[in-house]
């Protein structure tokens, strides 16, 4: 797919790519708090502010709890808001994450995935964002610095779409992507500015009996964030779930519109199949490890093995039909989880994949590998081992141990 605009190539780390995209997206308010490994995002953005390159109110709050609070209230006041966090910081926001999605505030947040304490660990795994998968936030996981740049820009359009109006998390693996310099082709400022546009507000019926734009505005007073008794709370939540369903439609639309301009696409925006058409054995995973898997899949294909990959780009809302269709003819699937679900049976992505395939007529044998916790590196040899295990299951038609730990000293 050819790009229709002039783009130049920059050498940017994942963090810098996020900050660059945010700079071009005409953000009104950034309220953030430093936490490794996202700090370069807020540092770079503060330089844009100090050098007058953006028109953004930059609030260095005294905690993430207050960072999310400030972003929420700024969004409800009509501002386009952006922030970034990770691990313990995201956990500290937990209470406010539910409030933000509950208030339908389209805050966009970059998460540099990092392990949760204890013990303290500053390296990358997905335990932090997985722990927030039910918070009502859209969750997009990227494979490299180029994709995080493209996805931050798309996230504003998805979050602010009137049929969605939900906050969105764009997750990039801590250090592996956030601190790793890669080639990033960037669009011109005016093209991005035009793409994200100015925030529009749907009309809502206010207590004054009139329809008015959904925002805190003395012109049209309205009450936001009220207490809801049992007679109405359930309805509000079901309405919020409808927005998530709409996002399944809106994310591909925004993705395709962006692809026409940039020349870059990532599957249909929800899922990216790779060498999956006739694959007998396939890995399902999210984030940067998918790049290493693609490298190994190419080698296995050269050696005649029918190996493939399904990369999940949108984890919330979960593209159920897309996943069923993509894995229909695969014989054995290994789901990779960079997160432990303590006391559960395998990791969170494993739970989702297995149960949505439960009633699908034809479906593969599904096993699980928990891997990479606390930033432990995952090498091509370890990926090869997973495919070797799957081929053994295919031959022997039995699974000795469906949930395994990859790269752990047993």
């Amino acid at each position: 797919m050819k790009s229709i605009v002039e783009q130049n190539t920059l050498a940017l780390s994942g963090n810098e790519a996020v900050a660059y995209a945010a700079k071009q997206s005409d953000v009104d308010v950034v309220a953030a708090y430093p936490i490794t490994p996202q700090t370069i995002i807020v540092e770079r953005f503060s330089e844009y502010v100090a050098n007058g390159e953006v028109e953004t109110a930059f609030i260095c709050t005294e905690s993430e709890h207050s960072a999310m609070t400030a972003c929420l209230t700024a969004a409800l006041t009509g501002a386009r808001t952006f922030t970034a966090s990770a691990s313990a910081g995201l956990a500290l926001m937990h209470e406010m994450l539910f409030v933000t999605s509950g208030c339908r505030a389209p805050v966009v947040m970059a998460i540099a995935n990092r392990a949760l304490s204890a013990p303290l660990n500053i390296h990358g795994d997905q335990s932090d964002s997985m722990a927030q998968r039910d918070s009502g936030w859209i969750q997009l996981y990227v494979e490299n610095a180029q994709e995080v740049y493209d996805t931050i820009i798309q996230a504003f359009r998805v979050a602010e779409n009137h049929e969605v109006l939900l906050p969105a998390m764009v997750c990039l693996d801590g250090f592996i992507l956030s601190h790793s310099l890669e080639n990033v082709n960037v669009l011109p400022d005016d093209v991005v500015r035009k793409f994200v546009g100015i925030r529009q507000f749907p009309n809502v019926l206010t207590h004054e009996g009139k329809m008015a734009p959904l925002k805190l505005d003395p012109e049209n007073p309205m009450t936001m964030g009220p207490v809801a008794f049992p007679n109405y709370y359930f309805e509000v939540k079901r309405q919020q779930e409808e927005a998530m369903k709409n996002a399944l439609k809106i994310i591909p639309q925004v993705h395709d519109e962006y692809a026409k301009i940039s020349g870059r696409s990532y599957g249909d925006g929800l899922l990216e199949p790779y060498s999956l058409e006739d694959a007998e054995v396939a890995i399902v995973c999210l984030g940067s490890t998918a790049g290493t898997v693609k490298t190994v899949v190419d080698e296995l294909r050269d050696e005649g093995a029918k190996a493939g990959l399904l990369r999940i780009r949108t984890f919330r809302p979960l593209p159920v039909n897309g996943i069923r269709k993509a894995l229909e003819d695969v014989k054995v699937v290994a789901v990779m989880d960079k997160c432990m679900s303590f006391g559960g049976y395998g990791g969170p992505v494993f739970h989702e994949i297995r149960h949505i395939l439960y009633e699908a007529g034809k479906h593969p044998t599904v096993v699980n590998y928990v891997y990479g916790l606390g930033g432990r590196d995952t090498s091509p040899q370890q990926i090869r081992k997973i495919y070797k295990d799957m081929q053994k299951i295919l031959r022997e038609k039995r699974v000795k141990n469906p949930v395994q730990y990859l790269g752990l000293r047993e």
Binding site: Y33, P34, T39, E43, S46, A50, S63, A88
Partner: protein
């Protein structure tokens, strides 16, 4: 309750290091010296809790620890909350005869980020609840552990990585939050400020804080060569110059009554001895942009603010 223990250099040097060698702090780290001196001022069984930050990370890099006393870290914003839990547990267990020590001192340690900003909520709560603990703020004036981002303790005009000196903005615009005065406003029994160069004054104040029944707050100035872009050998000298320029005056407030400490009383009695702030600022790269034509006027502004605050302090100490 003036303690009879006179603190000679030999007494202090002879006491074992409860904050041990082998910690991973940078060369020339004044917070590390501050922690060593504080741990030399302990008077008996002591439990220490630390907020996330440099001194926590460098001293507890699993599986190693630099703490010779019982020590715990749980998160960033709750050092004072940790201390509250420990203090309450000690009291109830003692009541039930399950803790043999007659008394256990509890010390909570946090950096400026963990005290001025994210930790003030827990600190204010713990003080208001009257827990018996000493809260020590080691103040290196920015979030050094995560890479020198600005905090509420960062002084005016200082460049950090989130309040950089740009072509438009000259580093941090807002003044340093008067955290010690805020704690005095809590009407707590003991609040003091200290600096590692004046080691005897520092150790005396730690001892007074421990002997107080109830909460005590000690604000210790702790230069950081990495974050201040200063020569590692000059960290202690900077902590002296900060007092000599009255940028960081030493005082204590017993039950709200302010009193200048000897090292600062010199400049109240003989104002001509006060050194210009320029002498202190020029040694630090974080203020380098203030010595360029574009931002030079901010130097005089810093001198003006420093003199103004010094006069206000003298009034509070009844010496104006």
């Amino acid at each position: 309750m003036e303690s009879e223990w006179k603190f000679t250099a030999k007494d202090i040097a002879e006491k074992p290091d409860l904050f041990m060698s082998g910690h991973k702090a940078c060369a020339g780290c004044a917070p590390a010296t501050v922690l060593r001196l504080i741990m030399k001022a302990t008077r008996g069984p002591t439990i220490v809790t630390t907020a996330t930050g440099c001194m926590e990370v460098v001293s507890s890099l699993y599986p190693q620890t630099a703490w010779a006393v019982p020590w715990v870290h749980t998160a960033f914003e709750n050092a004072a909350a940790n201390a509250s839990g420990i203090d309450a547990a000690l009291k109830i267990l003692k009541k039930k005869g399950r803790v043999k020590h007659e008394h256990v001192d509890v010390i909570a340690l946090a950096g400026d980020g963990g005290t001025y900003d994210i930790g003030i909520q827990a600190l204010s709560g713990a003080v208001e609840r009257g827990h018996d603990f000493l809260f020590v703020l080691y103040d290196n004036e920015a979030y050094m552990n995560t890479g020198i981002q600005r905090s509420g303790g960062t002084p005016v005009g200082a460049a950090t990585t989130t309040s950089p000196a740009g072509t438009v903005l000259p580093g941090k615009l807002e003044p340093k939050k008067p955290i010690a005065d805020i704690m005095v406003a809590h009407e707590m029994p003991y609040v003091a400020t200290a600096s590692p160069y004046y080691w005897r004054d520092l150790i005396t104040k730690v001892r007074k804080g421990l002997e107080v029944e109830g909460p005590a707050f000690l604000h210790v100035f702790a230069p950081c060569p990495r974050g201040w872009r200063s020569d590692p050998a000059k960290s202690i000298e900077l902590s002296r110059l900060a007092v000599e320029t009255c940028i960081f005056p030493l005082w204590e407030a017993v039950n709200g009554e302010y009193q200048l400490s000897p090292p600062s009383k010199v400049y109240a009695l003989a104002p001509q001895k006060k050194k210009p702030v320029k002498e202190y600022l020029q040694m630090q790269g974080r203020f380098r942009h203030l010595f360029t034509p574009k931002f030079e006027k901010l130097l005089d502004e810093i001198q003006r603010i420093t003199d103004l605050k010094w006069q206000k302090l003298l009034k509070k100490c009844g010496m104006a």
